[in-house]
Assembly symmetry: C2
Homo-oligomer: 192 residues x 2
DNA sequence: TTGACTTTACCGTCCGGACGGTACAGTAAA
DNA sequence: TTTACTGTACCGTCCGGACGGTAAAGTCAA
């Protein structure tokens, strides 16, 4: 039970994601994961008894991390108008700045079994509902959601379509569209 | 040399994409593709000598189809401002209405070898450049590109996050943002 | 129009290797 | 003594791909 350093589980998850990104999810083998994570195959199978459990953990881990970040961002905004959209933008921005190489583990999971995406499906549906409810313009909330989804998919697929500057511009553009006090949209007082 | 009916190649490509979506790209086997396409494995390997060639064709086919649709839409717009963005929106809208199950073949390709995405990478980079050049507001072009990319990624991953109505709303929202004569944006005459 | 040959478009079988998973004996720290 | 592994050996299955064969369609000289 390591506390401060990286858990064995985390090391395995990270290794799996890295390998998937490098050689493609199809060629993600338990042998390779064990090797990169610095343990034996026996040790890997001790931690994750099947490959499916590993992939499941990969997805769960991803959703849990996002949700945690989102809740932290939302907590600062007390359910004000557009706060969910704004929080999403900031979470993406943060994970973009940190530039974690994790998400492609999800591709590996989906590639093995499309139903592994179900938790993300459910999560995103709820998130979108909350974004729409909390927004002054549901259609713009949709566009914001899709823009972020676009950014994340480019990362997921390791696409360098947008330069670093483009990405910053896109995020800043979104931020302005959903800024707390927007002079173009006098539908709400938007105090604070 | 079949003329009117579906080519053997097309049948194979379609079969491969379908299987990939159903069982996951990892479990996309040549046997299964051959079976679904209605020929033997030998016949399949006659048409595509290796699995890699099949996957490559899957990606190429996808890019080519998109490019053809895009050029047709662009041709109607004579390089007017925002015409590239508008054309993109219409192409997405058309393929959304038709609802082709094809794109997940791309996932299969990437899952086998991430470098198979390179043609798409290159294509999208050029496309984005053209969108920015042709747009009055490069940042809004970025957001449009990403929104469409978001829609496509949801389809790629077979996510039903957006309802049919949501998707229509999103497309119509985009359309309005980049409409030929937009009263909120008096930067160009935008005749026609 | 017929026979000889070529090309196209497959079929069916087989093989080597990779991979997921099992089994089990050992070990070092807590 | 339990926890958390290491390391090795192995099994069964699946899969990509090579290969030999073949039936039908097309080509072309006589």
């Amino acid at each position: 039970m390591r506390a401060a350093t990286l858990t064995t589980k985390d090391k395995i998850l990270q290794a799996a994601a890295e390998i998937a990104m490098e050689v493609g999810p199809v060629h993600l083998s338990l042998d390779a994961v064990a090797r990169r994570a610095g343990l034996s195959k026996g040790g890997l199978l001790y931690t994750f008894p099947t490959k499916a459990k590993l992939l499941e953990a990969l997805v769960e881990h991803h959703v849990a991390e996002f949700d945690e970040s989102l809740r932290m961002q939302e907590a600062r905004r007390n359910h004000k108008v557009n706060s969910v959209v704004q929080a999403c933008i900031e979470v993406y921005r943060a994970e973009f700045v940190l530039n974690e190489p994790e998400p492609s583990g999800i591709l590996a999971a989906i590639a093995n079994d499309p139903s592994f995406i179900d938790p993300i499906r459910r999560y995103n549906k709820q998130l979108l509902d909350r974004m729409k409810e909390n927004s002054e313009d549901p259609t713009m909330a949709l566009i914001a959601f899709l823009t972020i989804e676009g950014l994340r998919s480019l990362k997921l697929l390791d696409m360098d379509t947008l330069t670093h500057e483009d990405q910053i511009a896109a995020i800043d553009g979104l931020r302005q569209l959903f800024a707390p006090c927007d002079p173009d949209k006098p539908s709400q007082p938007a105090g604070g």
